[in-house]
């Protein structure tokens, strides 16, 4: 098994781990962190799979995609954190209610 493939598998593992945490944890900060772990997993897959043939220089295009992805993830995280603070200010808890509207 070549190392690139191993990295890609780890990426998929991170993605799954993040998905699990996103579903299981109620606290919004944990949910936001979980989304970030999932994103890192996807980025790892992209970077790892850029090495198509062993020994050859890796394809730069996925790296450019990851940079774009990181920019998107940072902005999304900032918005999520700001919203989390607003949720806490409005409801007193940094969690989402089970039933949003009665």
């Amino acid at each position: 098994m070549n190392p690139a493939f191993l990295y890609a598998l780890v990426g998929v593992g991170l993605f799954t781990l993040g998905l699990y945490a996103l579903i299981v944890h109620a606290h919004l900060l944990r949910k936001i962190l979980a989304i970030n772990v999932m994103a890192s997993g996807v980025f790892l897959v992209l970077v790892a799979l850029a090495t198509r043939t062993q020994g050859a220089a890796p394809d730069p295009v996925p790296h450019a995609m990851v940079i774009t992805g990181i920019v998107v993830a940072v902005s999304a995280t900032a918005l999520a954190l700001a919203l989390m603070l607003r949720v806490r200010a409005e409801t007193g808890r940094a969690e989402l209610a089970e039933e949003p509207l009665e």
């Binding site: 295009v61 996925p62 995609m65």
Partner: protein, 483 residues
């Protein structure tokens, strides 16, 4: 005319307008309305170009596909751009009344315009994207802008709704992006046209297809992934609810449609049947839940769940007429649902609540608004001559021709469910309520835009041949691959 770079202008103009609204908040209403008119004119310009010269491919900055970003405009993207422009103009005019004098302060209006124009930019860029990675970026931009708009209403419901929406939206995008990664690895390109030539079934492609479809279904809120939609669409300010229901959920459907037809043409029939079944379940569940609601905006939001279900009935039918039917449904739903949310916004603005049982003879006080609601209801039910009727007719015709009549049954029963809740609301609008309530004059612009959008939904039925001809420009519905 032909040397004007319309595709870029259509994206840059709302972006510039949004920045201008952000820089000069005092003038934001004027700037916003001017930008909206400008975008409509530019989409018309692009439309003229596409109709005259066929599908357009445009390399931004002259870089070209592997390194640069390509824009692509064919009949399908033009149709989506046009519906966005028309609905967008309506919503801009409506918002100029809604945010100015509503219980929202000046502050909210200031935040509305830049974010709304950014959302418009993201929509236009999405419909013009030629590669699946650019689609991911625009999908994220769209999601972030939409979340910010939902949070604009303030209060616990809206902020929690926005947070839920953000998490769902990011989750959907990540599934999609993982699919993009697998496709790029397999075929070395993210360009839709190149992928369409190179793609062949393999385990990696099946995985990519599964991931992308799940991500997009989550964003399109197809039953049973619709759980987030009703509360989000109901808690947002009225013009934002209209935007979300009419345009934002349709954007992910558009991506799904393009991928399905061009990149995954080998998807098997069982998957198509499954999507159709989920669509049918959405029609029944959404319609049934709509009937049970006591709040008007919540009711309209559940009806969106039902209407989105119809779009997926085209997958098992898999023919050009079926797809056209689904797209026609998308158009007429966009117009009708905008009108409905605007009408609900007027009622909320007028009486300060949207409890259906206490509508208290709104019909006498807001005759235009109730007319708008009823006309939009006609299109949602699918009665002639509305756009909704043409859409259902096309779908029904395909269902019978391809010997799958049961999908036709779904269409008819779904129509009956819609009729039931439309008449329920209209009935309460005529009856006197026990609870007296405050009343505030609604600006004429808000009443008239609601009515005009509803009339548009009805008139769409008459424009059918012209709009259907538009779809035949370029792939995926071009004459060359008709069959």
């Amino acid at each position: 005319m032909s040397d004007i770079h319309w595709p870029v202008i259509v994206i840059l103009l709302p972006l510039a307008g949004g920045v201008a609204c952000f820089l000069w908040p005092r003038r934001s209403v004027l700037l916003g309305l001017l930008t909206a008119l400008g975008v409509v004119a530019c989409v018309a310009g692009l439309g003229g170009q596409v109709v005259e010269q066929g599908a357009q491919r445009y390399a931004v900055g002259g870089w070209g596909a592997p390194l640069g970003i390509d824009l692509y405009a064919d009949g399908l993207s033009l149709l989506m751009l046009t519906v966005t422009a028309v609905v967008g103009l309506g919503i801009s005019v409506y918002s100029s009344g809604y945010f100015e004098r509503a219980r929202y302060g000046q502050d909210r209006a200031r935040h509305f315009w830049p974010v709304w124009l950014f959302l418009w930019t993201a929509l236009n860029a999405l419909f013009l994207s030629a590669d699946i990675f650019n689609l991911y970026v625009t999908l994220e931009l769209l999601g972030l802008a939409a979340v910010a708009l939902v949070a604009l209403a303030g209060g616990a419901d809206a902020v929690s709704g926005a947070m839920r929406y953000l998490l769902v939206s990011l989750l959907g995008s990540l599934f999609y992006l993982l699919g993009v990664a697998l496709l790029y690895h397999s075929f070395g390109s993210v360009d839709i046209a190149i992928l369409a030539q190179r793609v062949e079934p393999s385990p990696a492609v099946w995985a990519a297809m599964g991931l992308m479809i799940v991500g997009l279904l989550l964003k399109t809120a197809l039953f049973p992934l619709h759980f987030w939609l009703p509360s989000v669409h109901a808690s947002a300010p009225a013009p934002v609810s209209a935007l979300l229901s009419a345009l934002v959920v349709k954007a992910s459907f558009y991506i799904l449609l393009r991928l399905w037809l061009e990149v995954f043409p080998f998807a098997n029939a069982a998957l198509a049947q499954l999507l159709g079944l989920l669509g049918a379940a959405a029609v029944f569940w959404g319609g049934f839940q709509a009937l049970r609601q006591t709040r008007l905006k919540m009711l309209i939001a559940y009806s969106t769940v039902a209407q989105l279900g119809y779009l997926f009935l085209a997958f098992p039918l898999a023919s050009i007429t079926g797809w056209t039917g689904a797209l026609y449904m998308l158009l007429s739903h966009a117009a009708a649902k905008t009108a409905m949310f605007m009408a609900a916004g007027n009622i909320l603005y007028f009486g300060g609540h949207d409890r259906i049982a206490d509508l208290d003879r709104v019909v006498q006080r807001l005759p235009l608004t109730i007319t708008a609601f009823a006309l939009a209801g006609i299109s949602i039910m699918g009665l002639p001559p509305s756009g909704g009727f043409i859409a259902k007719w096309l779908l029904l015709e395909t269902a019978i021709r391809s010997a799958q009549w049961w999908w036709g049954g779904v269409l008819i029963l779904g129509g009956l469910l819609s009729a039931a809740w439309v008449f329920k609301v209209v009935g309460y609008a005529f009856t006197r309520s026990e609870v007296p309530h405050e009343a505030r004059a609604v600006p004429a612009t808000m009443e008239w835009t609601a009515l005009l959008m509803a009339v548009l939904a009805i008139l769409l039925g008459l424009f059918a041949p012209w709009l259907l001809a538009l779809l035949e420009i370029g792939s995926p519905f071009g004459r060359e691959n008709a069959g």
